[in-house]
Each structure stands twice: as structure tokens, then as C-alpha cells.
Symmetry: C2
Subunit: 290 residues, 2 copies
């Protein structure tokens, strides 16, 4: 019997990354499919996957999506500013066109799931993964189960308290400077400085604000869920930012709780190159195939 193959889709606003792996999660084929209208995008993904005899497909996608299994629109993309994508049956289209079992969750849930696998599938822990990129989103896994039963977390839009030196008006179309996404997502770098984020020197003081808001978000989620590991993913911050994030976290705590070693608590992903989601998708594909 040939080895079983599994498919992964990381569905994003600019590209869908499609990949195939065997039982060992090692990627044997991968492609980038440009995000166009939903029909074209799905057709291009299907063309890639039809080259393989898949046993299951896992999708980690941008949101919001309907994850309520009792909902008539389960597996659909919900209201989104992306043209054509609102109310699109993403999971159903792949099920119908590929005729394989599919499991779908958010991109950040897929990432935290991948981290769970990479960190040894510990069911005695709660993991939190936050990505700081074009937007801010997070996923949590307690004892191997996602937090968020009928809807997925939207914690980039949690209320943020402004840094006293930060006079930025904020970039969230819904919340201005009231939420973390409006104050600390990638586009706020250019919003504050007029310079594209990737061109800013890493010692620019604007990163001080980003680190502070990320620490505040981690602090608030920690007090809510008491996660054992807080994983900071995405492209805006990197390993060199973590010491200051930990210091800001400790300042926010101000001795209220005895916290474990912050170097163990606040970390970068265990899977390199933002690959956590792909690993999580393959696991979802295996669950779908069961």
C-alpha cells in the first residue's frame, strides 16, 4: 500500500500556500496560488491537489469563518472586506471538488495546533499563539482542544490601553486606536512614521510601542486563560524583541502573580519560518481522514 498523502492550505489575503506531505509531515510538494476571486483561487488549488491521491485536507484560513458545526453556513467565510469572499463555502467547495474529507480552522488556530505538535502534544498545557503581521490574531489550545467552541477568537480587536507616549490615531477601521490591531499590526509602522515597516531600522522607537502592546495583549490573555506558553509569531517582531516584551509583561504584572520563568513563558514559534500552520493543517488533514 502506498503511503497516505495529506494536503495543507494556508489561505491568506494575498496568497494560498498549498502543500502535500506524507505521514511524517515532510512537505514533498508546495505551491503559491495567488488570491483572486474565490472560484479562480479554489480552481487553482484544486488543480494542484488533483496531482495527488489525498487522504485528507487541512485548511487554515483568514477569517472570520463559521466554525459552528450546527450552523447552516458551517465552513463558510463570513462577512469580510475581501471582494467576493463574504459568505463563500470554502470548506464545502474543496470537499465537493476534491472528494476528500476536509477539516478547516483559522490560520492562527492552525498555527497553535502546529506548535502543539512541535512541542510534544502535551495535554497538560494550554498554548497561546499570536501573530503580529498585516493584522493581529490569536489561537489557543487547552489540553489539545481549541478555545472557542461556536466562534473563533478575534483577539486582535481586544481593547488596548495606550502607551502614555503614543499619540498615534490608530489604524483600525472599526476601533481606531482602541484595539491592539489598530495600534500594533504591521501597517501601524507606516501609519506612524510614513515609512514602510520593512524599511524601518529595528532600533526605531516605533518598535517600542509594538513591543509594549504585544506585551499587554499577552498579559491580558494570560490572565484570562493562564496559558502555559505564549508564542509570538508573525513578521513584525523577532527573537531580538522578546527580552523587551518580557520586561514590559513583568512591569504590567508588577508582582501581582508569581509567574514562571518568562523566557519559558513568552517565546517565538518552535517551528521555523512561520511553518507552524502547515504542520497544524497536516494534522487536521489526518484527523479528517480518520
Amino acid at each position: 500500500m502506498a503511503e497516505k498523502l495529506y494536503g495543507s492550505i494556508e489561505a491568506g489575503g494575498t496568497k494560498f500556500i498549498v502543500a502535500v506531505a506524507g505521514e511524517d509531515d515532510q512537505v514533498t510538494a508546495q505551491e503559491r496560488v495567488k488570491t483572486e476571486d474565490p472560484q479562480t483561487t479554489v480552481a487553482n488549488c484544486v488543480k494542484f491537489f488533483k496531482q495527488y491521491d489525498l487522504a485528507g485536507l487541512g485548511i487554515g484560513t483568514f477569517g472570520p469563518i463559521d466554525i459552528n458545526p450546527n450552523s447552516p453556513t458551517f465552513g463558510y467565510i463570513k462577512k469580510t472586506p475581501k471582494p467576493g469572499w463574504s459568505n463563500f463555502d470554502l470548506q464545502g467547495e474543496f470537499e465537493r471538488q476534491l472528494q476528500v474529507p476536509v477539516k478547516m480552522t483559522t490560520d492562527v488556530n492552525a498555527s497553535v495546533y502546529g506548535e502543539y505538535i512541535a512541542r510534544g502534544r502535551r495535554n497538560d498545557q494550554t498554548l497561546f499563539y499570536v501573530t503580529i503581521g498585516t493584522g493581529i490574531g490569536g489561537g489557543m489550545l487547552q489540553a489539545g482542544k481549541f478555545i472557542g467552541l461556536n466562534n473563533h477568537p478575534e483577539l486582535g480587536h481586544m481593547t488596548a490601553r495606550k502607551h502614555p507616549d503614543d499619540d498615534y490615531a490608530g489604524g483600525c477601521p472599526f476601533h481606531g486606536d482602541r484595539c491592539f490591531e489598530g495600534l500594533a499590526a504591521g501597517p501601524t509602522l507606516e501609519g506612524r512614521t510614513g515609512i514602510a515597516g520593512e524599511k524601518l531600522p529595528r532600533d526605531h522607537q516605533v518598535f517600542k510601542f509594538i513591543r509594549y502592546y504585544v506585551a499587554q495583549l499577552l498579559f491580558d490573555v494570560y490572565l484570562t486563560t493562564r496559558a502555559d506558553v505564549l508564542i509570538v509569531g508573525g513578521s513584525v517582531l523577532n527573537e531580538a524583541d522578546m527580552p523587551e516584551v518580557r520586561r514590559d509583561f513583568a512591569e504590567l504584572m508588577n508582582g501581582y502573580l508569581d509567574v514562571p520563568d518568562l523566557e519559558q513563558l513568552i517565546v517565538r514559534p518552535a517551528v521555523a519560518d512561520n511553518g507552524s500552520a502547515t504542520l497544524g493543517d497536516f494534522e487536521l488533514a489526518k484527523l479528517a481522514a480518520k
Copy 2:
């Protein structure tokens, strides 16, 4: 065979409420035990319970407590300003002195557990219970399991964004005006006005701030956990405050997510007279007895 009896302790900073019920959760005996030093307090509770042939005991207590089953201090009260109570083995003392199986959690976890039972034990829902009293605390139950695996939530100390008209310096010894407890717990009423909270007229503008911060806390926890029911308990707010809490919640959301009927989402407890915790304790007692 005689009906089985179960014990409940609501352990608070001023009193321990001890109660006994049968399988039907109807309280057949109840007493208030003054909170003194731990040995005296436990002895007085034990005296009450020794009158009955208990099958199990459930405790909902003030925190912080150690809920990590792998910890050598599992079941202990952790560091607390209450004299004598730090590092006290509360669960162990009752197990040893009563020789019955005991299950213990936080007071707010016991409350959310009681609400879960009163609302039909729905495992397709996530419930959040917050109490606004001397302090602010909350508990969550997703599909019948507590959120918070090795430590319990401490969400009264989450970061709050100040209401633009609120110039109160805050009452939290750790966080000043930076956290919800420092801005909206019962003592902040007197902190702001110089008048004891229970003597303030309900239309005093200070309640506007409390309602706003409660709405903000509910909003932040909703975005994190996507709970299906947000239950506002405690003595500071009442049913008449809920319309404004819902209105502030909707203003914070500002159309970002389509939210279900707010009258179904944001509610007062289903169990009257803050009795949710006792009901939750009896359920813990039954689980302990199994």
C-alpha cells in the same frame, strides 16, 4: 439506603458559608462561619459537617489557589494578603478532618459551574461568569470544562482602557487605575465619591463608569473566548444596569462582528441570590464522591 448527602463551602474573606443538600441540590442545612485564622475557621466548618454523613464535599474559595494536580501544593491557598492563609492546605485539611472526598475550585469557577447546571448542562456552549463585588473575578466553562488548566483565571487584573471622563486614580494596590479591579470593583465607588457604595443612589454617575468597565471586560473576554453567555454576578450591578452594559458593549464592538441578541448574550445569573456557587459546589461534591 439513606439518601446521599453532599457538602458545600463558599469560602470568602469575611465568611465561609457551609451547606448540605441531597441529590436534588436542595439545601437542608446551612450556616455562616466567620473567617478567622485558618485553623479556627476550618474547625468550625468541620463541626458543622460532622453532624452529617457526607458522601463528598465541594469547595469554591477565594484565591489564589493551586489547581495544578501535579503540584506539591495542589489544593493550597497561595500567596494572599489575608493573615495566616498564605500557603494553607485548605483542601487537604478538610480531606483529613472529614475523611470524605473533596473537590475544590475558585468561587467564580464554582459560580460558572452552578450556572452551567442551572442552564441545562449544555456542552455545546461556553459560559463566562464575572462577579463585580469587593473584587472582580471570573470563571469560564467550555463544553463543561473549566478554562484554566494549571492556574485559574485572574481577569479582574486585565488591563483596562480608561473612560475619557474618568479621572479616578484607581484602587488596585498592584495596578492602580490600570486594571478592571482598580477601576470598577465595589470599593471604587467609595474611592471615587467618599460615600459608601451601598449608600450611593443608583442614578449616581459613578455607576456609568462601572457599567462601562464591565462592558469593556465582557467585550475583551468575549473576543478571547467567544463565550455564548456572559453572566454578570455580584452585588455592585443589578438587572437594571444590564441595558447600559449591553449598549456600551455594542459601542465597543462598533459593528466589527455580528453579535447574537445582546439580551441573550449579556445576562444576570440564572440562580437567584448569588446561589450559583453553592449549586456548583454540590456538583463538585458529587464528582468527588464518584
